[in-house]
């Protein structure tokens, strides 16, 4: 993975010093609350419901065991002993004191980490495919480009005070696992007409109050033009994006208001002016960064795969078999596997990990995965280079730490924001609902019968939980001080990205799991052959689901007007 050199280290060290002084000036009264806010936000520091929340950047979701141990240390020393992995492959700490944040940043800097631009109206953490570099369906590893964009966007002098936050994702695989199309800029590595690899550029995707799927504004961009093209897009946005209304300030609103064609024209015109400037990326730099993402030294296929007992165990131990089927994924190197560590144990909040678990996972990574860990955008972790022969001992170890729940991709593998329990913006709880769903759907056989199924839940319309692109989306809304939940069906985040359709009026808190059950019943009745939920849904439409959920006893439904955003 990428290693800081003297320059990278210098920048994070200077950032620590800068933020320490900003915080000192704030505490001394030299900076007002309003003046300090954008400064702390650009360091991922929010003032939340109970305490400050610090979001730490995990560039494209890649962690070393050393870094994960530091996150555990921070959770223990400055927080209440746990952290929350987010849908942007970052980690959030919910209980640090404001005064301790400069020290936390210094600790992070000691392991080549930071909280730079994890919030604020600037370019945020660059996200990517959690199987980058190990996926069989990959055209090219996207991480070198993520790192190049990370460096370009870090303290970008022109784009640090944008109209609104700005998210970029890059994917290099046939199957989009990075939800590229719901980002402000989405980038796919693609092959051009001459056979060489370049980028397809999408703009204007995003969820929140007014969700949009991104629009392709350039089918093919040569690699050397990556930064000049991004700079052209950002410049147009910085100048023309709305600043009068924060709910209409994202680039998706500009793209939609101007029209894709006119927006593309503006970008292309600006790009023509700057494309052959010092922004041009030379091959030497691409190659240099690529060098950091070379493969670890894998064992030979025979050595990696050798475990004579495994075939027998898969027959005899049903729970091991289930885990292998759900949580163990293919790896491009023969004899190797990628192993999901589920952070969706029924008894814990989705995406949370304790310091003890983090330390344990770091040990497992050292022992079984070339010291490497990935964070996925659906809030799980991955050990990315596990020898097939090590699966059984690894599974045994993970079980003891509640990290072997065999539910990856299943209904209980929910995406969930922190909700009303922690977040200032939330209208309703998310964690309670996750628990309600877990309590109701606790039969693994049933879950496996349903198969791949994504529930995504946000406690407010800012959509941190990506509810618009869940097969079932759940949006928490506030109705006269009471929590209600708006369901959507048929959303998807991958190559076939689609915004879910509103099922009907919001439902009461206690009825959420019951309602999901009804939706599942309709699916199971209607599905043909091996159809996944999404296929059935697209074939039969929303009506049968509506009828089942709302027709039976309408007297129980609360009066609820259409919720903004739908």
């Amino acid at each position: 993975m990428y290693q800081y050199d003297q320059y990278d280290q210098q920048i994070v060290n200077e950032r620590v010093a800068q933020f320490r002084d900003q915080t000192r000036r704030y505490l001394a009264g030299e900076l007002s609350e309003d003046e300090y806010r954008p400064l702390r936000l650009m360091n991922g520091l929010y003032i939340q419901r109970h305490a400050p929340m610090l979001r730490v950047s995990i560039p494209y979701g890649l962690l070393s065991s050393t870094q994960l141990r530091m996150l555990a240390h921070i959770a223990e020393k400055y927080d209440k002993g746990y952290g929350h992995f987010s849908t942007r492959q970052n980690i959030q700490f919910n209980w640090p004191s404001l005064e301790s944040v400069p020290d936390i940043l210094a600790d992070l800097a000691s392991v080549q980490m930071h909280a730079i631009q994890t919030s604020g109206n600037c370019i945020r953490n660059i996200t990517s495919d959690h199987f980058a570099g190990i996926a069989g369906d990959e055209l090219e590893d996207p991480r070198p480009y993520c790192e190049i964009i990370r460096q370009w966007s870090t303290f970008h002098p022109e784009f640090s005070f944008l109209p609104r936050k700005f998210k970029i994702a890059v994917s290099g695989a046939e199957n989009d696992r990075a939800a590229v199309q719901i980002h402000d800029i989405g980038i796919y590595l693609v092959r051009g007409n001459e056979g060489e690899v370049g980028f397809r550029i999408l703009v204007g995707g995003g969820l929140g109050r007014t969700p949009f799927i991104g629009t392709c504004i350039r089918e093919y961009l040569e690699k050397r033009h990556l930064l000049s093209y991004l700079e052209a897009i950002l410049r147009v946005y910085n100048q023309l994006g709305r600043r009068d209304n924060m709910h209409k300030a994202r680039i998706k609103i500009l793209v939609n208001a101007a029209g894709a064609e006119k927006f593309t024209d503006m970008v292309e015109t600006e790009w023509q002016r700057i494309k052959d400037s010092a922004l041009t990326l030379d091959q030497a730099e691409i190659d240099r960064v690529k060098g950091y993402f070379s493969e670890p030294e894998y064992a030979s296929h025979a050595a990696a795969a050798a475990d004579a007992t495994q075939a027998k165990r898969l027959v005899l131990q049903k729970d091991f078999k289930l885990w292998v089927e759900r949580n163990v994924k293919a790896h491009k190197t023969p004899g190797y596997r990628a192993v999901y560590l589920s952070l969706k144990h029924p008894a814990t909040a989705p995406g949370d990990a304790t310091a003890a678990q983090m330390n344990f996972i770091a040990d497992m990574a050292d022992r079984f995965s070339h010291s490497e860990i990935r964070v996925t955008h659906d809030q799980n972790l991955i050990l990315s280079h596990v020898r097939q022969a090590d699966l059984y001992p690894l599974w045994n170890a993970l079980k003891k730490e509640r990290l072997a729940t065999p539910n990856i991709g299943l209904l209980t593998d929910m995406i969930c924001c922190p909700g009303l329990d922690f977040c200032n913006l939330a209208n309703a709880g998310s964690i309670d609902i996750a628990k309600q769903i877990n309590d109701r759907f606790d039969e693994l056989d049933y879950l496996h019968d349903i198969g791949d199924f994504q529930i995504k839940m946000s406690g407010c319309m800012n959509a941190c939980g990506h509810h618009h692109v869940g097969n079932i989306g759940i949006l928490g809304v506030d109705k006269k001080g009471k929590e209600f939940y708006q369901l959507t069906l048929g959303g998807a985040a991958g190559n076939q990205a689609r915004l879910g359709d509103r099922l009907g009026p919001a439902i009461a808190k206690d009825d959420v799991a019951e309602t999901i059950d009804k939706v599942l019943q309709v699916y199971l009745e209607q599905r043909e052959g091996d159809e996944q939920f999404q296929e059935t849904y697209l074939r039969v439409g929303i009506e049968p689901f509506k009828t089942r959920v709302y027709a039976e006893d309408t007297s129980k439904q609360p009066e609820m007007k259409a919720v903004a955003g739908y």
């Binding site: 003046e35 460096q151 002098p157 910085n238 400037s277 010092a278």
Partner: protein, 167 residues
């Protein structure tokens, strides 16, 4: 006007008028005037006894002054609130596209923690908000010694240094 220039706080002769009747005739002296006033009174201002600069805000279209840049010794860029980042792009475009070589001055909600960014976009003088200590704000110019990306300050991207070091 008390400004930061070349890393020092100094007093200069420029005065800025935020709004002016179009018919108003300026007294002798160095004035920074709004764009619309300058556009109407351009011919007269060329004969003005003193220097003339124009103040632009984020809404102003730079094409309106592009051909006249040679006549302007100073352009002030307004930051109505320090989170309004449009003038950063204005600065880059004036420097990089239009090759403007006069003085670019940040005015308005100009605070210490923005100076590093402003300087990199080609702004070379800073009128720090009146209630703030300008001497303290000077420190903001040197928050970082390494710059990842190229900008209007002529600084090459850091990877060029890496390549040199690698050779």
């Amino acid at each position: 006007m008390r400004v930061i220039k070349a890393g020092k706080v100094l007093e200069d002769n420029w005065q800025r008028i935020a709004s002016l009747e179009q018919e108003h005739v300026l007294e002798d002296g160095d004035w920074i005037v709004p764009l619309d006033y300058w556009r109407v009174n351009r011919e007269r201002l060329l004969r003005h006894n003193g220097r003339v600069g124009v103040c632009l805000n984020g809404d102003d279209d730079l094409e309106h002054i592009a051909e006249a840049l040679g006549q302007l010794e100073l352009i002030a860029l307004e930051f109505p609130g320090f989170t309004d980042g449009r003038s950063y792009s204005h600065a880059r475009i004036l420097r990089d596209r239009f090759r403007y070589r006069g003085e670019l001055r940040a005015v308005g909600d100009v605070l210490r923690d923005q100076l590093f960014f402003m300087q990199r976009c080609g702004i070379d003088s800073f009128q720090v908000r009146e209630d703030k200590d300008a001497e303290d704000a000077v420190k903001g110019l040197s928050d970082f010694s390494v710059k990842y990306q190229t900008a209007a300050d002529g600084s090459p991207p850091v990877y060029r240094f890496r390549q040199q070091a690698g050779k």
